[in-house]
Symmetry: C2
């Protein structure tokens, strides 16, 4: 065979793959025609000065991909029916195929972080403070055994469920056992499964206004109609919920730290909300997304801990205490609802990936979660104090609220200072903030800026907030 | 303070948690009444012979949970408003709440593996053969950095998408770039997202009969009506698909290794299927769940590689080449469909967990996936040979088919030997097999047994198959 085969021993591409590629290219461009006999692996190895195993691996690949036929002593030949040549690109159906329904699902924006910009983005925790030794050990454990040979339980790993139940009892006063927990791939999935279990297209869901856009879109994506319920500095205005025949089936709330305004629902409103749900046979969806973090303020019991009639579905997440990229959360729901959610979870993705479930079970069982939360509480308290101190000079022009809990706050601006102008001008100076108007569904928005500070370094908070102060003060002049 | 605090230094429970628990108990049962002043952490530490940090940690916990108030020099007191006491159990709504819709979603069974039983379960790969060094290193890398501070792209990690696109081009002749790929949490999620993108309740979906029950339930869970399309030993009978106004929008097929009968769809049927889809403006969903494994048989091109008109959505998975518990798969779909799927993925769980995506990207980029597949092909070929040899004696009573590819085969039994009797009797001898009847939606089933052999050891295959032979032979007497 007279083929110009050239192997590059300095390349990162393994030798057998180089050989495969060059032989395949020779077959595809006709230098090795159909039916041609290839040299034996032994002679090829000798000719190229490689081990015979390298040649064997290349031949295996070519055989597997259908470029050559025959094997084991009888010789290797270029196949007559070559595999279909790769197309240059994916074909696109012409026109509008009938299987592509006219209505597209609602679109959420996803923007990766911009390097060089101080982003006061909501929901970003301080991942640099995850204890490196513990983190390393937990993942090393995952890699120290082969993966499971079979699927796991749709409701989640039993040890993780037990660990979460214990944590919820200790930290949130929600008494539940492992069987009450469903492990999910994050709060979005928890809400999506709930919506699928209870909502039919056209059903009305009451939703905080302003509220968490992702959750609202999840409900819209299920065909729900949104009934906006106004929010004030103390959270959702329970007395604005319609009763009787107008009462919605379901209401979505964030009582620990209203998303995005930051209010904490007072006890009397909590009791009133539970009474409303009982009187109107409705389900309360409690999204407790960052309840772990609260400062100089007494804890308030979760609705799920106060509920005595099985009308609260509780959504928890590890996105804020660890990382949103883990996609791990959980759901506590009254038994008949929980059973449906487990069935739907099975039909949706069978179960949440095993490595992530096991890693979190170790993290909680070893006491690391609660230790980490305690440490983060102190760290966030410092960041919060720095934010407040740096923003103090704008006080006559703006009011900072929602700082008692969570990892973000709301800076309400005086009417004549347009929040969108401020956001545009800070961005020009590499400081990104979001304006409140994007969080509304229907009502006219309050004028202000949201500041997520959890994931920023102290120095970034101070310099970013200083830019904000400067921009606001110039605007007010 | 005269409290009987007893710390156990030999316990696995950390000292600070023991202290927290005992103080909390004392508060709850009234030994420490509301308003009582706790001793200082310094004196408590001295009295108990523990470090002050341990006492501080316990006080932090009690403060965080709302059992005590005040801090930093001014003294610590038992709170007046105690956190709500944990309930004994989750409350259940009485009667049938209106938010629990009358129709429950379809239920799939999930049975964990039974220890001590040789289970010829379908879809179980040989996880013990995953190379331990590589596996260890890949997960160690995950643990060597803090987790990401923010969410990832809904379509998946860009490096993983590039790695999958490269692999698909090399191994399956499906030419696509990273942007054509959507990373999903397994084949079930791929199908569920597709169903959500294209099916409205009541729409008809054509489905192989017999077929993969989980996929059928996913479609049923979306409200689809199933149109069963008969399958023979060569796969789905394309000429049985209705045309014209009766043609369904979508057909689900497993052409590489029909699930469960094991046929490989011949090229003429593949071309006919693509022509049918073009003529009837339908979408083909190609579930290529175990195409990596094929024995003494030439490769057949994927439908997605033959498609020139954008009518194939291709579902791939790492469940069979690595482990089903990873919950990692991918979808290749024509551009307008792919965009919808990405939107729905965002609304469903935002993205697949980052650790699993990163681990698989390393596995593919390092060349380990293809090396592993080559090794597994040899291992499975041996297992398959052992299964065939051990079952040879029943040949007049039973016919073994579907062995050219995949990790399972079908043993068709003569009419007078009832498959369910055989399964019952082998189970009594600790050998579990499934019968074909469970895989049908509507038509009358063929009589036989399914044998998943991928995850069993060679010795288990031989002894399990020997039991099966014995049971069949006794039955035929």
């Amino acid at each position: 065979m007279d083929l110009p085969l050239q192997l590059d021993r300095t390349s990162v591409v393994p030798l057998h793959r180089q050989l495969t590629q060059q032989l395949r290219q020779a077959i595809l461009d006709g230098r090795l025609p159909a039916g041609a006999r290839l040299p034996s692996t032994r002679s090829l190895a000798a000719e190229l000065g490689i081990s015979r195993n390298v040649a064997l691996a290349a031949f295996d690949d070519l055989f597997a991909d259908g470029y050559v036929v025959g094997q084991h002593g009888s010789g290797t030949y270029v196949a007559h029916d070559l595999p279909v040549l790769p197309r240059p690109a994916m074909p696109t159906p012409s026109g509008a195929p009938r299987w592509l329904r006219p209505t597209a699902p609602p679109a959420l924006t996803f923007e990766p972080l911009r390097p060089g910009v101080i982003e006061f983005r909501l929901g970003k925790p301080a991942v640099q403070s995850v204890p490196p030794d513990v983190w390393r050990k937990i993942w090393a454990d995952i890699g120290s055994h082969p993966p499971p040979a079979d699927y796991g339980a749709p409701s989640g790993d039993p040890e993780l469920r037990a660990a979460i139940a214990g944590y919820l009892g200790r930290a949130r006063g929600v008494a539940c056992g492992p069987d009450d927990i469903v492990v999910t791939s994050g709060a979005i999935q928890s809400l999506d499964l709930l919506a699928r279990a209870i909502l039919l297209p056209g059903d009305v869901a009451a939703f905080e206004e302003p509220g968490y856009p992702v959750s609202r879109h999840v409900l819209l994506g299920r065909g729900a109609r949104i009934l906006p319920v106004p929010v004030d500095d103390d959270g959702v205005q329970v007395d604005a919920l319609p009763s009787g025949s107008d009462a919605p089936y379901v209401v979505y709330v964030t009582p620990s730290h209203q998303y995005p305004l930051g209010g904490r629902l007072p006890i009397p409103r909590r009791m009133a909300l539970l009474e409303w749900a009982a009187a109107n046979d409705a389900l309360i969806v409690e999204d407790d997304y960052d309840s772990e973090f609260r400062f100089d303020a007494p804890p308030l019991p979760a609705l799920a801990g106060l509920d005595t009639s099985g009308r609260v579905a509780y959504i928890g997440t590890f996105s804020k205490v660890l990382s949103p990229a883990l996609r791990l959360g959980y759901l506590v729901a009254p038994p008949p609802l929980r059973e449906r959610v487990v069935r739907l979870k099975h039909l949706t993705d069978f179960h949440t990936p095993w490595p992530v479930q096991r890693a979190l079970a170790s993290f909680i069982q070893g006491g690391h979660l609660e230790r980490h939360i305690r440490r983060m509480r102190r760290e966030y308290a410092e960041k919060r104090a720095a934010l407040r101190a740096t923003l103090a000079p704008v006080e006559p022009l703006a009011r900072l609220i929602g700082l008692e809990a969570g990892l973000h706050a709301f800076l309400e601006l005086r009417e004549e200072i347009d929040a969108r102008d401020i956001a545009r001008e800070t961005l020009a100076r590499n400081v990104a903030v979001s304006t409140l108007d994007g969080y509304y569904h229907a009502m006219s928005p309050r004028n202000g800026i949201l500041l997520g500070y959890g994931g920023l370094e102290l120095a970034e908070i101070v310099s970013g907030a200083a830019v904000l102060v400067d921009v606001i003060q110039r605007k007010a002049r």
